[in-house]
Symmetry: C2
Subunit: 272 residues, 2 copies
């Protein structure tokens, strides 16, 4: 058994204790965000609750997490519900409950894949002219220190009350867990949420913003993630539209040798 002091902070943060028909989790100060935990760690924990479940079949295919309220520091309960098991797919709903209220909901789709004709249509982003990338400037956010990030395009460059906007909303970044950890579905889920809000990039300001819904599609199996190991993935994110309090983000996560591991979208609240 791995003891707590040798456990990777990510594994510590998503650790769950069975409580009869549900699971008990605990927020981790190491993944704290501005208000409550980093959304990616909450999403990973929700996925973990299904993967830990004795009736779980197959591997993650699609996950949608809705952030209904901030998660407070401390314990929370995850209540997975098996909706339906088909021949090759399984559908789950999960609720995150804290102090008697639902703080997040999720739906997760698991699948047992068989080998078929396959093809990657998306193009690996052109990173030939961007060098090694830049470190994220200090943010004071604990979760950011849990990632090794090198930004190639769309740097986090905040200026006080800037009036100018960037020419686009694209960020390209190399990212892996810090300290390094072998990739799995939970860590990939968290990495899918590890981009700064697109509005920070576009407006060069940190306006109030928070993800309200996140969807991840997994395009790889567990063996591919294990083989990827502790290498960085290339994240490529951009926004389609900012409109009256909400914008979307769409992103891809690639291995350095061009395997598309996941695509992800989210809708984000912003204030000004």
């Amino acid at each position: 058994m791995t003891t707590a002091n040798t456990m990777h902070p990510f594994d510590e943060a998503i650790q769950l204790t069975p409580q009869g028909d549900h699971y008990r989790g605990q927020t981790s100060a190491k993944y704290a965000n501005m208000v409550g935990p980093f959304g990616g760690i909450t999403a990973a924990t929700l996925l973990r609750a299904v993967m830990d479940h004795p009736e779980c079949q197959g591997e993650p295919l699609a996950l949608t997490v809705n952030f209904a309220a901030p998660v407070a520091d401390g314990a929370f309960d995850l209540i997975p519900k098996l909706i339906r098991t088909n021949r090759s797919t399984q559908h789950w709903s999960i609720e995150l409950v804290q102090h008697g209220q639902i703080a997040a909901t999720a739906t997760a789709l698991f699948a047992t894949r068989r080998e078929t004709w396959s093809a990657t249509e998306a193009q690996f982003p052109d990173v030939s002219d961007v060098g090694e990338g830049m470190e994220i400037p200090p943010t004071g956010l604990a979760w950011v220190n849990r990632y090794h990030i090198r930004t190639l395009r769309g740097h986090l460059g905040l200026t006080p009350a800037s009036q100018e906007t960037s020419s686009d909303t694209v960020t390209q970044q190399w990212i892996r867990d810090e300290p390094p950890r072998v990739m799995d579905f939970c860590s990939l889920t968290a990495i899918a949420d590890a981009f700064f809000p697109r509005i920070y990039i576009k407006r060069k300001q940190a306006v109030p913003a928070g993800t309200v819904s996140l969807t991840v599609y997994f395009h790889a199996d567990a063996a591919t993630l294990t083989a990827h190991g502790t290498q960085c993935v290339l994240g490529y994110a951009r926004a389609n539209r900012f409109y009256n309090n909400y914008f979307d983000q769409i992103a891809e996560l690639w291995t350095p040798d061009g395997a598309l591991l996941a695509t992800t979208t989210q809708v984000v609240y912003y204030k000004q």
Copy 2:
């Protein structure tokens, strides 16, 4: 009151009858697909169940529908659950139950928007060189006749057991309800699913395929949709990856004058 014989087939198909704490719906032969109803009409009906609910606040912002099993012809029950009401957002879960089993689940996020700084980042697709578009060849599918579609790129051109593949998976199409109907959130949701499976386009064959999860982000308000009226929207869809039984589709829906009404993603099962 509108009587059944003057009602638009779309309104007829998504009509719900309150049954105490839930709603009763009925599949419509006019929106039949190969097996069960067109997924877009099921998604629209799930959204409708929330919009009809007396406690519903705000307008649709994000919808995820998971298709757990085929919906059989006939009646079904929609059970909306209000998860949480915040100052400007509301979270819902919905189950579609038929013959005592859950055939679909959904989560829906509603929001009351206020005017903020806004910007559209995605580019309106270049349709300057493609002419008026082509009609969809006869498919024998009822739901296809409920849409006026003109394909600009990525035509549905199926060949028996073709060995060649297309150069890409892009489809661009002008689409509106047939007969014309003023746009609203429900019809926009259905239109988000009204692309043929990307694998038909890529492989030029109709291999067995079906959507298992669909997400729609709404980037417009009700007034914009009403003002759009009965015009066509420009749909732009493509796939990122086909991998061992599942591929994704990502799409945009635009007004002719360049307003991005919605972005949508789905993950689709395929067999060969």
